[in-house]
Every structure is written in structure tokens, then in C-alpha cells.
């Protein structure tokens, strides 16, 4: 796995780009900007669903979601750059594993939301509360994205991971 990722990185020029003087910090900046985009769109939608700032109809805030998807794509792209350039630093790092876990939960939560609750929530107007299950889903979503940011910080701060990993 590590070799396959490194080969991919070297054959596509990603490795040279990321090891250039500004490649890594530039990719990190784009990665964090993508997260801000995600929090500023999906996060605001979640906050409104949880019952904050009820002056905004939910359908209006939903118009911001495509920018959250854009932020997510920026994160996946830059995340691939990090992972393929230094796979040994990431694949066995419990912070990365936890980050992927929370992303998976957020993804499942989103599929459940669009499959079961989105239609009922779409009509929620000004000053109205959403369904309890929508509030719970919004809480899970927001908590997962905050956990993703925390795990992202853990990756670079607590290295090597054996000082704190619970399952290593």
C-alpha cells in the first residue's frame, strides 16, 4: 500500500511538488480553507437545524451546500497529496484513522439525512423549529466536522503516535 501510494506520487509529479519549498504549506493552506468553506456552509446549516438563528428559512441556507461540497473536494484533493507523499506518516497514524472514522460517520449521517429527513426539513420557515431527529442529525454532523479538525491537528502535533494512541 505504502509503495503503491509512493509510486503514484512520484510518477504523477505530486512528490516533487509537495517537496518543493512551498508545496506542503500551500497544500495545508488550501486544505484548511476547504475546511472553513465546509464549516461556513454545512456548519451554518447544521446550526440553523439545531435551532439557532431561526430568522433564516432552511431552504435558503441549503443554497450554500454546493460550496460545502466544493470545500470537501478541496480537502479530498489536498488530503490525497499529503497521503501519497508521506504514506508512512499517515496510514498508521491513529489521528488519521480517527479522522477518517469521523468523516465516515458524517457521510453516513448525511446519507441518512437526505434519505429520511431532508424533504420534511425543506419547508421549515422563519422562526420554526425542525424535527427532533433533524436536530440530532445536525448535532452529529457538526460534532463530526469539529472532530475532523481536532484529529487533523493531532496528526502533526502528537507525532509519533505511540505516546497517546489507545489502540496502538
Amino acid at each position: 500500500m505504502i509503495e503503491a501510494l509512493l509510486n503514484f506520487s512520484q510518477s504523477t509529479g505530486i512528490y516533487s511538488l509537495m517537496n518543493s519549498p512551498w508545496g506542503w504549506p500551500l497544500a495545508e493552506s488550501i486544505h484548511f480553507f476547504g475546511l472553513c468553506l465546509l464549516i461556513g456552509t454545512v456548519g451554518l446549516f447544521d446550526l440553523r437545524m439545531m435551532g439557532f438563528v431561526r430568522e433564516i428559512p432552511l431552504a435558503q441556507l441549503h443554497a450554500l451546500i454546493p460550496f460545502g461540497v466544493l470545500g470537501y473536494l478541496l480537502n479530498v484533493t489536498t488530503g490525497t497529496l499529503f497521503l501519497s507523499t508521506a504514506p508512512d506518516q499517515y496510514l498508521y497514524n491513529p489521528a488519521v484513522q480517527s479522522k477518517f472514522f469521523f468523516m465516515l460517520i458524517a457521510g453516513i449521517n448525511m446519507l441518512l439525512f437526505y434519505g429520511t429527513t431532508a424533504a420534511a426539513v425543506e419547508s421549515v420557515g422563519v422562526k420554526n423549529h425542525t424535527l427532533l431527529r433533524a436536530k440530532i442529525m445536525a448535532g452529529i454532523s457538526l460534532a463530526c466536522w469539529c472532530a475532523v479538525i481536532i484529529c487533523g491537528r493531532l496528526i502533526t502535533y502528537y507525532r509519533p503516535p505511540y505516546h497517546w494512541c489507545l489502540w496502538c
Binding site: 506542503w24 504549506p25 500551500l26 495545508e28 493552506s29 484548511f32 480553507f33 475546511l35 472553513c36 468553506l37 465546509l38 464549516i39 461556513g40 456552509t41 456548519g43 451554518l44 446550526l47 439557532f52 438563528v53 430568522e55 433564516i56 428559512p57 431552504a59 435558503q60 441556507l61 443554497a63 450554500l64 460550496f67 469539529c146 479538525i149 481536532i150 487533523g152 491537528r153 493531532l154 502535533y157 502528537y158
Partner: protein, 162 residues
């Protein structure tokens, strides 16, 4: 440099630097708060530029109340990070650039909050659109310089010079 060396030898600075949870807590809080503050500003700027016509500006600007809580956390955690490694930031010109971009960005946020959330003006004039572009550029600069701080410092600890 001597002042910075003295500052980093205070009990608080040593604790912030050497206690794992204190430094990591400040770092995480800073990232989370930045995510919310930058995110809310991007959402407002996207609306003003015209990317989200369905969204009412007077409504989305109400999120600025949350935004200021985020700003408070940014300053608290930022001061903690600065106290932990004062020489690292204060001897780096990138830090001052970040501070300038952040200050101008916050002044624009205050202007938008006052105009759209408090006075509830619903019309978006050319000046607001121009400020929204500037706001977007400034927050990108804040995020980028924030990341580059970790790579551009020339001095980590001032005390090693004494």
C-alpha cells in the same frame, strides 16, 4: 530579544509550551474558532458577490453574533500560542501580515454586521460587493499566513541567544 527571552522564561509561558494538553488545547481551539470565523465570513462574502441569490443577506448576517464568540476564542488561544513561543511569532514578518489582514477583515465584518444585521439594509451596493471580494482575499491571506508561520520562522526560542 532580551524582553522576549524574559517573557518565555515566565511560569505561564513554560507551562503553555511544555504542558502537552495546554499547547494542544490552544492550537485546537484556534483552528476550530478560525474555521467558524472564516467560514461565516466566506458565506456572507459569497452571498454579497452574488453566488447565492436565494439567500437573504439580512438573514445570513445574523450569524455574525456567533462570529464574535469565535473571534474571542481566536484571541484567547492566539495569545496563549504567542505566549508559548513569543520569539517565534514576534520576529517573523509573516505574523504581522497575518495580524494586519485579520484586523482589516474584522473591521469589514463589523461593517457588514452593522449594515445588514443591525440596520437591516437589504440592498447590496457596489461598495459592499467590492468589500466582499476584499474580505474573501483577506481571509484567504489570514489562513495562508497562519499556515506559513510554522514554516517561515527564523527564531524559535529567544533564550538560546542569552
Amino acid at each position: 530579544m532580551e524582553t522576549l527571552a524574559r517573557l518565555e522564561e515566565t511560569t505561564l509561558s513554560i507551562w503553555l509550551r511544555e504542558s502537552g494538553p495546554a499547547f494542544f488545547g490552544a492550537l485546537t481551539l484556534h483552528s476550530l474558532a478560525m474555521g467558524f470565523v472564516v467560514g461565516i465570513n466566506i458565506a456572507v462574502a459569497l452571498k454579497l458577490i452574488g453566488f447565492v441569490p436565494r439567500l437573504e443577506i439580512t438573514a445570513v448576517a445574523r450569524f455574525f453574533t456567533f462570529h464574535w464568540y469565535g473571534v474571542a476564542f481566536i484571541f484567547i488561544s492566539g495569545i496563549a500560542l504567542l505566549l508559548a513561543y513569543p520569539a517565534k511569532a514576534l520576529t517573523n514578518p509573516v505574523f504581522y501580515f497575518k495580524l494586519c489582514a485579520l484586523s482589516i477583515g474584522l473591521l469589514i465584518s463589523r461593517h457588514f454586521q452593522n449594515k445588514f444585521a443591525i440596520q437591516r439594509k437589504n440592498t447590496i451596493d457596489r461598495r459592499s460587493i467590492g468589500l466582499a471580494y476584499l474580505c474573501l482575499a483577506l481571509w484567504i491571506a489570514v489562513v495562508t499566513t497562519g499556515r506559513f508561520l510554522a514554516y517561515t520562522h527564523t527564531t524559535l526560542l529567544a533564550s538560546r541567544f542569552y
